[in-house]
């Protein structure tokens, strides 16, 4: 059963994609939307069936399907093989169900776009690649999906390719993730040479057996981490994600919030046994994650573009997941991945609906008072914002964030014998991040929905768009209660699902941890109310002239830094090769000899002068001859090669 359904799960969106690409321009927008939704919907049904199959089996059971051997050469083998275990089960459910909701929404959202078939072709292709990535049981096969989602991301960011800004953003995203892909490939090659196979089970077994040298293991983990960082837009690769908002909003919701950017998190969670052996890399992951939380939150606090705020918030939330991965609580990372997919998709889709109804206005300061004209969207956005902020008890975000925070607290890293990094410090950073999260998202809420109205609105949100919003609202509110904090009733469905063997006793954990996690978002909400929410708000806009604000608004100047660090030196190198230095030296020597010869010519009356004249003219002749060698003619070059060959052969004969 599983052997048939697993390939079918991927095949269904892939077939939809092929149909859409081939029939582009020949069928109506309505038919396009139907085909895309049918493809993804079928795959959602299959994934639910598969989950039921998997859960009805034994706790450690998995479904496998090997399609065909890819390559078998001496010392290495790879298969096209898929595997469904409990980690990938969570992912396929998230990908297909959230994907289906977003496709339904997009069918209405993109209805009037001339390129709607191309759009849905790319979206369904993305779902197929993402499923390949998630299900692959071989890292090389996973890499196919990894590249496939990158390609679809590129195609969809540059969807409106008429505008050069969009294509530039697409290229930027492609290049930035490509750097990470290269590192990822390096890591794969290291593992492949050490193990001889990239099958995930084989690799993890080799790691736990201690078959790989620690240095190689650390390097491989580091390379894979770099790949994951680039895919998930973490420090230092975070700059591509805000620009990626140039794409259509459903794209931002599906690819750049819910699924593709979490591929890095999934990868590390998948290989958590490998990372557990590489302690320095784990510490690096945690620190980078914590830094990204703060950086993303601070930047989101000063942005004025609605979609960019959400993009920076995605970066910051992904930071939470990386922090959890670094601290070894990968179950918490996956849990947050799931709830984040719900509420961030909700926020993006609501933002898209708002933007459509306000004549494509994205500046939050020009919006305002939308509470009166679109109460339904307001409710949806506030729901998403509460879940993002993690308002206690009623939202999904609270439970997942709480799980991360309680996992980070007891963590500690032994970097060297003297130097240890305590989890308490990282916990503090994450808590500060939670405060900032509540602050920036409710700043956005208060400015956009409260206050006096700024723009005129039009139309009504179509029924097709409100259904997914409603579903996502419910998921954002109730999706979290399957996993309770320790001090609450013992309900640990999610971690029991992922890791049935693990025990759940955090006896040493103080009770006030949960309290702190609950109070901090409320404090953020209160501060946001004081600053932006009251009828006479303290400030409408951040003081723009302050250097630090401007600095943060441009994304901490990272783009500029990269420009200085990488682009300019490269340009300099190309300039160097264009203005050939050797050329200058040769020309300069020639000029020098010429000057010398003319100056000597002046003193040619005596014998010595004549002698030097011969000398200089000889030099000049040599110079001219050397110049003639480089005459740019192919035949002469060929003749020189042949001459060199004959000389070499002659030497071989004589020796």
């Amino acid at each position: 059963m599983g052997e048939i359904l697993l390939p079918l799960l991927i095949l269904s969106p892939l077939a939809a994609s092929e149909i859409l690409f081939i029939s582009a321009g020949r069928i109506s927008a309505r038919a396009v939307g139907t085909v895309a939704c049918a493809g993804v919907g079928l795959s959602a049904v299959i994934s639910i069936v598969l989950s039921v199959l998997l859960l009805s089996g034994p706790a450690t059971g998995l479904l496998q399907a090997t399609l065909w051997p890819w390559m078998h050469i001496a010392g290495f083998s790879a298969d096209i093989a898929f595997m469904l275990d409990r980690i990938s089960m969570v992912m396929i459910l998230v990908v297909t169900i959230v994907g289906l909701l977003i496709h339904i929404y997009a069918a209405s959202y993109m209805r009037d776009d001339p390129g709607v078939a191309r759009f849905f072709g790319c979206m369904t292709l993305f779902v197929a690649s993402m499923l390949v990535l998630v299900l692959a049981s071989d890292l090389l096969c996973l890499f196919i999906g990894w590249e496939g989602v990158g390609l679809c991301s590129y195609l969809l960011i540059g969807f409106w390719y008429d505008n050069p800004v969009n294509t530039a953003a697409a290229r930027k995203a492609f290049y930035m993730t490509r750097m990470g892909d290269t590192a990822f490939l390096c890591g794969l090659l290291l593992l492949a040479t050490a193990v001889g196979s990239l099958h995930i089970d084989t690799v993890l077994a080799a790691v736990t057996n201690g078959q790989i040298a620690p240095s190689a293991l650390n390097m491989a983990a580091l390379f894979i981490l770099i790949g994951a960082l680039a895919k998930s837009a973490q420090i230092p690769f975070q700059t591509w994600l805000p620009d990626a908002m140039a794409g259509p909003t459903p794209t931002s919701a599906l690819i750049h919030a819910a699924t593709m950017v979490t591929a890095g998190v999934y990868l590390i969670a998948r290989l958590h046994d490998l990372f557990a052996q590489a302690a320095p890399v784990m510490a690096l992951t945690a620190v980078l994650g914590a830094l990204t939380i703060l950086m993303g939150a601070c930047t989101a606090l000063v942005q004025s573009d609605l979609k960019r705020i959400l993009a920076w918030s995605t970066i910051s939330q992904l930071g939470y997941m990386f922090l959890a991965l670094g601290c070894g609580v990968w179950q918490a990372a996956l849990f947050h991945l799931m709830t984040h997919a719900f509420f961030k998709a909700l926020l993006f889709l609501t933002a898209g609906a708002i933007i459509v109804r306000t004549h494509h206005e994205q500046d939050i300061f020009r919006l305002g008072g939308l509470r009166h004209t679109m109460p339904g969207l307001t409710a949806a956005f506030v729901t998403g914002a509460s879940a993002l902020a993690g308002l206690p008890l009623v939202t999904a975000g609270f439970y997942s964030k709480e799980m991360i925070l309680s996992g980070v607290w007891p963590a500690h890293f032994r970097l060297t014998h003297e130097l240890t990094l305590n989890g308490h410090f990282l916990w503090g950073m994450a808590l500060l991040g939670a405060f900032l999260t509540a602050l920036y998202i409710f700043r956005c809420v208060f400015i956009v929905f409260f206050g006096k109205s700024g723009t005129t609105t039009r139309g009504q949100t179509s029924r097709l768009m409100t259904i997914p919003l409603g579903c996502l609202c419910v998921l954002s509110l109730c999706g979290g209660i399957i996993e309770m904090p320790t001090t609450f009733p013992p309900l640990h469905l999610f971690s029991a699902l992922l890791d049935p063997a693990a025990s759940h006793s955090h006896a040493d954990e103080p009770g006030w941890l949960v309290l702190a996690g609950a109070v901090v978002p409320l404090a953020g909400l209160a501060v946001a109310w004081v600053l932006w929410g009251r009828p006479s708000p303290v400030m409408r806009e951040m003081p723009g002239q302050a250097v630090v604000i401007r600095f943060a608004r441009t994304g901490e100047g990272i783009d500029m830094l990269y420009d200085r660090l990488f682009v300019q030196p490269f340009r300099f190198l190309t300039w160097l090769t264009r203005h050939d230095i050797l050329d200058y030296i040769i020309t300069g020597t020639g000029r020098l000899t010429r000057t010398a010869s003319t100056s000597v010519l002046r003193a040619r009356t005596d014998f010595l002068g004549t002698l030097t004249l011969w000398g200089t003219s000889g030099i000049r002749e040599t110079d001219r001859l050397l110049g003639q060698i480089q005459n740019g003619r192919v035949r002469w070059y060929a003749a020189w090669i042949a001459g060199g060959l004959s000389a070499g052969l002659a030497m071989a004969m004589l020796s």
Binding site: I73, A639, L645, A650, M653
Partner: protein, 166 residues
Amino acid sequence: MHALALLAASVTVIGATMVITRKVAVHAVLYLVATMLGLAALLVMLGGSFAAMLEIIIYAGAIMVLFVFVIMMLNLGQPDSAREKEWLRPHVWLGPGVLAAIICAELLYCIVPLSDSVPSVVPITAHDVGLSLFGRYVLMVELASFLLLAGLVAAFHIGRNRVEDR
């Protein structure tokens, strides 16, 4: 040596010599086809009938057709053959001829004559070649496919009709 082998070898060498001395490009192409056919006959005698078939099909067939097409598209005429004649005056031959002769002599000198003779030619069939090609040399096949793809892209890009550039 067999008379037939001698005939094929002389066809090959004479054909090659004619190729590089012709003034009209189409004549050169025809001589090149003759060269290839002679070479294919030699390959059969060496036991490589599969290679010989490929030589005829791909080289004498496909690649030469490419040449013929390009020559047709270039629309060469009387002035071109006159110019070729201008370019092919005897003194032009001196330097390259000497250089090629030197290399030829050196290579011939470097050949170590093998005295042990193989009793008989065992044909290497397409079956053996296929096994070897997709067994030990499968990476080579991948690389060759990369090369062909790169060539395809490059030829397409270069040959594109850039109206806006002019």
